[in-house]
């Protein structure tokens, strides 16, 4: 899995946040924690972003082992052949994880707003 941390990459992630807010990307919810963006221009492919919650074992201050939830984000850019062209794993880098969290939350909020707008549009005026 590729690890990329650069201003350029963060710039692209910020750009995704902005165009998502502007409603220019049609994100689709694949499952409760995964969103997918299918595109056909300039070339076919898709971007998938996933929020992953997992259990992690750890030692308490008193030495007893315990289990705690850990949340990380994963973004994959896939070409038309299904090959993964870019994979960003938040587990490998805190800064990337925070940026992916921002992307994920923006998508989540946009889709929620889209649902509210749809509901608003179908309710007859009083």
């Amino acid at each position: 899995m590729q690890t990329v941390e650069s201003d350029e990459l963060f710039g692209y992630l910020d750009q995704i946040v902005n165009v998502t807010k502007a409603g220019k990307i049609n994100w689709v919810q694949a499952n409760p924690t995964t969103y997918m963006w299918n595109f056909s221009t300039p070339q076919a492919g898709r971007v998938i972003i996933q929020k992953i919650s997992a259990a992690e074992t750890f030692k308490n201050p008193n030495g007893t082992p315990g289990i705690r939830p850990v949340v990380r984000f994963l973004l994959q850019a896939i070409d038309k052949t299904g090959g993964v062209k870019l994979a960003l794993n938040g587990a490998e880098n805190v800064a990337i994880n925070q940026r992916l969290q921002s992307v994920f939350e923006t998508i989540e909020a946009t889709i929620a707003q889209r649902g509210i707008d749809f509901l608003k549009s179908i309710i007859p005026p009083t």
Partner: protein, 191 residues
Amino acid sequence: MAIELDQLARAQDSIHSIQCTLGIPYWKHADFWILLVVGIASVVVAFMAYFEAGRAKKAATAAGKTVKIQTVMIELTEISQKLERLQPDIRFNEVRNLLSEISRRIIRYVSPFQKDPQLAEKIDILKAALSSAKESLNKVRPSDPMKEAETQFAVYYGIEGDFAAINMGVADLLGLLEKETINFGDKNANS
């Protein structure tokens, strides 16, 4: 007349002989000491038999426990191997079936040891990992099962951490159970 006197004299002798015998204390009789020794030996042997039977019962119970532990270890090892074979392209329904199976089996095998102070903590962690895996699986339930393949590996990524935690918990428990059987062997070797 002479015959009667003779019989009387013999009777007197017999009475005298009886009086002499009765006059000797019983502890001066050899047969008393023989019977006493035999009696004490019998009591000692009976006590030894009682204690040996107790020890044999204890050993048999421990041996039964060891056999049970070994059976559980075989089952847990099989579960661990199953978890290690998890493939990235696994589908949601396959993971659901696998999680359901391993949860049922793990709970069944570890339940008898739930109150064991050596194992209780590890069992709780394992159960917490199973619960976490169940929650994680619900979070990757495909909105449209027909399009599940489009988000490749999403299910795997969603549950791999929890399955790794389950596998670690199983391995931890296996180690402790192995230690238990080794301890049992050592105790028997010493006794």
